[in-house]
Amino acid sequence: MQRSWHRVRPALMEALAILIFALFMVPFFLVVLNAAKVSVDIIDNPVSWPKAWGQLFTNIGLILQNSNINYWPSFFSSAIITVCSLAVIVVFSAMAAWVLVRNRAWWSNVIFMMFVAAMVIPFQVVMFPLVTWFRQIEVVTGIRLLRQYLGMIFAYLGFGSSMSVFIFHGFIKGVPLELEEASTIDGCSRPATFFRIVFPILQPVIVTVLILNGIWVWNDYLLPLMILGSGNMAGAVRTLPLAVQSFVGSYVKQWDLILTATLMAMLPIIVLYLFAQKYIIKGMVEGSIK
């Protein structure tokens, strides 16, 4: 009895594992399956095998040409916003964190505590005043922030900085001061010391900050909705989640096209995950535990 259980258990575990894996993957599978059909066939039977896989490419072509989702412009808007936001978040948060660690004074404590405390603030409590405030800034200074890349990137710097400063702060505390002193003696200015000596050492934690903020910014819905608006005017800046949302709103129940659109919205990040899986998991998990 005991012996047979020992032989059966691994097999049972394996069967269970495969079953759970299948359950987890079914939604993706259903998306691909039905993105390769025409609407009538989906209504008829959403779990049947597609009649011809060529329909998948026809549907993808339809999405690419659709003026409502505007796939490529939306994709590039999302990409521009994500890349620029990440660049400013990483550089400016690291700079700020370094100054805060290397100056032990009342003001550095106050600023650091401010960043930490702000992590509790949910977006909901600042989002309405933020829009009014941005409009006010435009009236007073003439700088346009609403419906602009500039406003998006500036907002992401503000919202991303508290967590990022916190993560950099924790890491820089462990960087030996001797390294910086040596470079100062060699005649490096303070900014040069930071960019030539400190910043390169931060590389592993920079990856964490990039991934943590990157996934958030790329998938974010509410902040772009507030700053860019939900309209679909020609030439307006619009991110991919906003585009998908407005597309679904106007093509109610056209599941062939909706599912193709969701497939194409998921694809970029899944492809990235295939290449950078190790870093993505590490970055997202480490960031949360801190």
Binding site: F24, F128, F154, F159, V285
Partner: protein, 297 residues
């Protein structure tokens, strides 16, 4: 030299601190003020009304219901996500073949935005499951889970579990791997069977992972928005305190709809301030729990 250093400090701090002040600090305080006015976003004449918005929202059944629904969702979701995530963590740290592939795969849903996921699951709940129910003759599958006012919260929780469990699993995995293997082996030699080892050794040894995950899922569930919008958008309608209300309109969505769909910006802001207060209380409890544990250790 010293004054030069000071300039470097100011220059280095300026971009991050400036953006932070402009985007979070100023709107935060402006927002608290505006929650006590008749602000509507259009009329520039904003009049201070004290706590009137707060008393109004407390008397509104839809807000009370939204609060209860969010709390129910949070309770169900915290339990479901953590149970599934812990189970998955045990699975991928066992000796089962292909465990690394499973670990990577369970993480995937978490990379995709809630808006996109919500639409996919709307399709599954409204089309795939009823179709399967019809062909298999299973009555309970034939009406969509998210079309029933009493079950819709569970439906959203299922989606959130699918989305989030892989992420929480990773934290549990880290916790399990931090336990020295010799400890579990010693217990095995002493004759402790698997459930005993699990409950008596593994779980107590990773108590901090449980604390992290519980608070993470708690805050995350309470803030649920994206999936809520795309999966149900608050529906279906139901009756509460003799008023028609949305049965799955969680707080974040309720705040948004109060401000835009119902054009009551100041009331929406007052709700947001309350939302913030609840989250502060949760965070303070978390800090307190962590402090207490440090003393014990």
């Amino acid at each position: 030299m010293r004054t030069k250093n000071r300039w470097v400090n100011v220059l280095f701090l300026f971009p991050a601190v400036f953006a932070f002040l402009m985007v979070i600090v100023v709107p935060f305080f402006v927002g608290i003020y505006l929650s006590m006015t008749n602000w509507d976003g259009v009329n520039p004449n904003v009049i201070f009304t004290g706590l009137q918005n707060y008393t109004t929202i407390f008397q509104a059944p839809e807000f009370l219901y939204s609060f209860l629904a969010t709390t129910a969702f949070t309770a169900i979701n915290v339990a479901l996500v953590n149970a599934v995530a812990f189970g998955l963590a045990l699975l991928v740290t066992s000796r089962v073949r292909g465990r690394n592939v499973y670990r990577a795969a369970f993480f995937v849903p978490n990379l995709i935005g809630g808006i996109v996921l919500g639409y996919i699951w709307q399709f599954i709940f409204n089309n795939v499951l009823p179709a399967m129910g019809r062909s298999l003759g299973l009555g309970f599958l034939q009406t969509s889970l998210i079309a029933k006012a009493n079950l819709v919260v569970l439906g959203i929780s299922l989606v959130n579990t699918w989305q989030y469990a892989g992420y929480i699993m990773m934290i549990y995995v880290a916790g399990i791997q931090a336990i020295p293997a010799s400890l579990m082996e010693a217990a095995e030699t002493d004759g402790a069977n698997y459930p005993t080892r699990l409950v008596r050794i593994l779980m107590p040894m990773m108590a901090s992972a449980f604390t992290i995950c519980l608070f993470l899922t708690l805050v995350n569930s309470f803030k649920q928005f994206d999936v809520n919008v795309s999966l149900t958008n608050g529906g279906p309608a139901t009756i509460f305190m003799m008023k028609a209300i949305n049965s799955s309109e969680f707080l974040a969505l309720n705040i948004y709809n109060t401000a835009f769909a119902r054009s009551k910006l100041a009331q929406g802001q007052a709700k947001a301030v309350l939302f913030f207060v609840v989250l502060v209380v949760v965070s303070l409890i978390q800090v307190w729990v962590n402090k207490r544990k440090e003393v014990e250790m």
